[in-house]
Symmetry: D2
Subunit: 356 residues, 4 copies
């Protein structure tokens, strides 16, 4: 199947391939009357844009978004918002080898097994270029939840983690790694560059924290807030693990260590003394920060040749030339933030539907 729509009330549908003329998103269900023009979206695309440092792919894409519908006189009208980004830097010539053989770690074989044919240019629909459309849609979602602050950052690259004590949110925009720890960012420069020069690649962990989420969002049992976040994050290219709050580490805690005790708070709502839960209990937000952690595998496209097979089933070796991110998790960071915004905005509206 092909299922390119996400969300329940605030829904978006993306389309487009890596080397087609354009890609885009249609955002449906957005409340009316919100101020929206391209300038509300472009900064988020710029943060994800390739080619801004040597630590990301050198493909040059301006990623200029154009709003084709859904606004009038600078405001959303409540009708579908069509967003389009033209592809500019398509070099299809590099793909003759990929047309013939399956890149290990990529979706090439899976797409062929499923559909019987595939657009091999840059991975076609399976390319991470699709995430530009998510980022654009996410910028619209943010308008729906102005009370929420979303912070996403890389907390670990290639096993080298930030120092939590040195966390400084202001640093995130100051280095090419979305790193909140200035020293770690320094170390990562060499780490990532070495991997790049070796023709290899590195994995990363991205964390995302949403503050200002009201208690009560989430739709148990099968559209729990954490389940929808898990789906949103696991669906990002190269993601292999998703954690909420303590995540996998919760399996090693005892009940009393993992409890989030409460005390009477200032505003009537309880004050939590811990947030092991990551802001979600029973699939519903508790009013605490919503904390998600996501593992990106190392970029599968590497210059180190790997054994593989051709479409005809013959053995060959393949090194993926071309312009690739040495650590795809870096540019995944704005995508994680966008998916957080999209899930939260959808759930805010879902909650309003049932509970007013």
């Amino acid at each position: 199947m092909s299922w390119n729509t996400f969300g329940r009330v605030l829904r978006f549908t993306t389309w487009g391939e890596s080397h087609g003329p354009a890609l885009g998103a249609v955002v449906d269900g957005c409340p009316p009357g919100l101020a929206l023009d391209e300038s509300a979206i472009q900064p988020f695309l710029d943060a994800r844009r390739p080619g801004t440092s040597k630590f990301t792919t050198q493909r040059k894409e301006p990623d200029q978004v154009r709003i084709l519908s859904g606004t009038f006189e600078g405001k959303t009208t409540g009708t579908p918002i069509s967003l389009m980004i033209e592809n500019v830097d398509q070099r299809s010539k590099a793909y003759s080898e990929v047309a013939k053989a399956y890149r290990p770690g990529h979706a090439d074989y899976a797409y062929d097994a499923k559909y019987g044919l595939r657009d091999y240019r840059g991975g076609g629909r399976s390319s991470a270029r699709e995430t530009a459309a998510r980022v654009a849609a996410g910028a619209v979602a943010r308008l729906v939840i102005p009370e929420v602050t979303i912070t996403a950052y890389v907390s670990e690259i290639g096993g080298d983690a930030i120092d939590r004590e040195a966390f400084d949110a202001a640093q995130i925009a100051q280095n090419p790694f979305f790193c909140p720890d200035a020293w770690a960012a320094k170390r990562w420069e060499k780490l990532v560059d070495d991997a790049r020069l070796a023709g290899s690649s590195l994995g990363a962990v991205v964390e995302c924290v949403a503050e200002g989420v009201a208690a009560g969002w989430g739709a148990p049992i099968y559209a729990k807030l954490d389940a929808d976040l898990a789906s949103a994050m696991m669906g990002i290219n190269a993601v292999k693990g998703v954690e909420i709050g303590e995540g996998m580490a919760a399996a090693r805690l005892r009940g009393e260590e993992n409890a989030d005790p409460m005390r009477p708070g200032a505003q009537g709502a309880p004050e939590f003394l811990a947030n092991h839960a990551g802001g979600v209990a029973g699939g519903i937000s508790t009013g605490q920060p919503v904390v998600v952690r996501v593992a990106f595998k190392p970029t599968s496209s590497i210059l180190i040749a790997q054994p593989t097979v051709t479409r005809e089933g013959e053995a060959t070796d393949l090194a993926t030339k071309g312009r690739h991110d040495p650590c795809v998790g870096i540019r995944g960071t704005p995508v994680v933030a966008a998916m957080m915004a999209l899930v939260l905005a959808d759930h805010k509206l879902l909650h309003r539907a049932q509970c007013g």
Copy 2:
């Protein structure tokens, strides 16, 4: 919101509370002509049933399933299959304290914040008793994918992991922990019992492997097989992390370490030399075993009192008496397997819809 339906083509809807008269599931979209009566479902419910050892809750529920619709002369008719399980052992009297104060780590406060009222008896709808309905639905899903073998087991309790070298699938049904390592099972007896006697609880990791999944299942971009699995698993009570293949560890690997190289295989399909991907690439199954790992937090209901607040916002301390699992991950194992079956069966049908 309330969203109690899961799936896209093979869909199921669950209903019921911990202390209501019954709970159930309606399974819709099941292919016709499959042999189905209660005996095809009951063994799976029996595996999840409480009260079978001192390592699980002592609530006595026979969990007898009854098929109310959707079959005729022992076969599915293609119409909705209604499954009902009556609650037998409801002791509502134990819940007066819980009515007044929020149990830390539970969904009590979140439900109240959302709905303004809650059925506090045994957690109401947020009780893990709901998962009995999933297990029943999962048994139906298994009929749709007879070619797939699903194996679920506990790989770690309270930080004590199995020895992968000692893995023996035949052991899983031989101990009360769904443990494939006989020695680990021995150790866990004491580990879990100590926690129980201390009024504490332990977390666990559950792994689930599905073999026999054809290449090509999955619906990119927003119903990827791994994304749907992530949603399915994260939505199980007490789950805080979900991994596919290497999972979080993928973030620490280099590209060449994480590659799944291919060689020509016997049947035309490639043979993979590794399965770091856990059987999914680009959201589509590759034909390798689908591997999911799930972290269960320690049961929140513990006898060790925790600071909390009452509904009126006053400080109090609460120890959760009653009959609770000292390690909820154990009985979560058949639930993980059921959700795996439900996701795979749905995707098999989805794939058939588009690709024939």
Copy 3:
């Protein structure tokens, strides 16, 4: 496919066959805090109940509804509401002929062509008994829209229409035909009884008017209020036509005849000088009464033998014995009202989701 769920935010799923042990509905997405017990549902079921006059089927079903989940202390909790109605008067013995041959006008052949097998007892899932579940669900929906008054009535039987001048809503509950015109009701007694005695059946037109619907409900373009009503009504057993406002007659009007001119109204909202539109423009409610008209075909089960074929493809003639409504439109009236309630309640919540 099998698709037994209706609605987008307020959703219900029905299950059950004519001659199974029970049938039911699971209503999901209902707002919390609404007063609900069986007594809020039973009167609507009683209005639809068979066997109350000689003008309906003589099958004796008490149609007692039982609420199995979703309420606590007499109020909805926001979790799924499971409603069950047991089948009492199942006489399967009458169906041996039907097992072998297809009843003309019925779904027998279509079900067999689709599923390869069918529950032939009373039509199985295709029986109009399923509509009892809709009526029960509709009673819950009414709680969501207390400001709306829904009036449904039969306006025509066998081509004999009511006199619009003689319309008296108080009459509807006073005769076995849901007829608002006392004289027409008198005429219909003989009309329907003659058809019954002749072993024949009659068609009917049912109208349904919803007053008090706020302007602004409806979800253009593909969940327009009128489109959802059309789907809801056309899906009722035996319905072959659906009209909104002028309906088919609009095709014969000129633009100036069909206009609904406006004048300033008392409450700020415009006052409409006509309602040709039936309360819906552009798929959105206008604040005027929502008017739907539905054509029921004559009951297909008649005692007059018809040519047909057996499952083996041999020619035969079949007269449908058993206990049938001589005019299925009569008991369809509460079903039409229920579907109106379900669509409106869903759209009220959908509108609130997007527009607050």
Copy 4:
């Protein structure tokens, strides 16, 4: 709400306003490997295109479609197909009056009541220009059902019906009315032109017949084939009534008149001796032609002034100048055919999902 997606497996999402830069559709779930380029779509758009005769609006739109994604080397890849049509002839200047006052019979007031603001230029999203996107999507759907022949035609304008005896399918493309009766087409020339010159408008009835539909398509109970068709058709701009088979007339038939008797057929399947049902029984196709009839109201935009109110609630009179279809049902004909194709293609895939 805003809900701009239609379908369950084969889904399409439309976007765009009458006077925005473009409009389009994203078609998702299309099977892979189907031959598709713009030339497979353009003829259907040309049939709907405005300005081709004096009997339609004089707005000049080339309606050139562009495929932006979802194909590779001339074939569908199974990924979303993005279709875009640029708006060329936007004359926004004519809309100052409409900005201030509500056009009777239009969605102006309803949109304002719902969203609090509206794009008044040409009706914005409520304009029938949106149906160009449906026609483009419908052309893709036709590729999924090559075995089905869809014929749509106008059977009545302003109360003047075709002569069924004179039906000649070859005529449909020979006159500007999609009329299968050459004499009726002649009469309609004067009829429609007179209405146009009088500043008035006329309603119409459109019929659509799909031949070659296999028995077994349809998803009871809440995605019945006829219910989905009803939704699809009622959602077309200006449609007020939908009939399947005998439609409203079924209410006036007796059971024996409405029966569709069967006799053994040549190919094993029964041969039906009549088709009162319009090819659908129990919501499932019977293998007979699927017959739908749709009533279009007269165009609401007329030059004859009507009483209305301004946004500020003051009385005024409004004649809708601009370029309008004197009979919107004419150009609605290709839209009806497109919606038929979209519903049937979706149900073909849905059926395959469940029943293989």
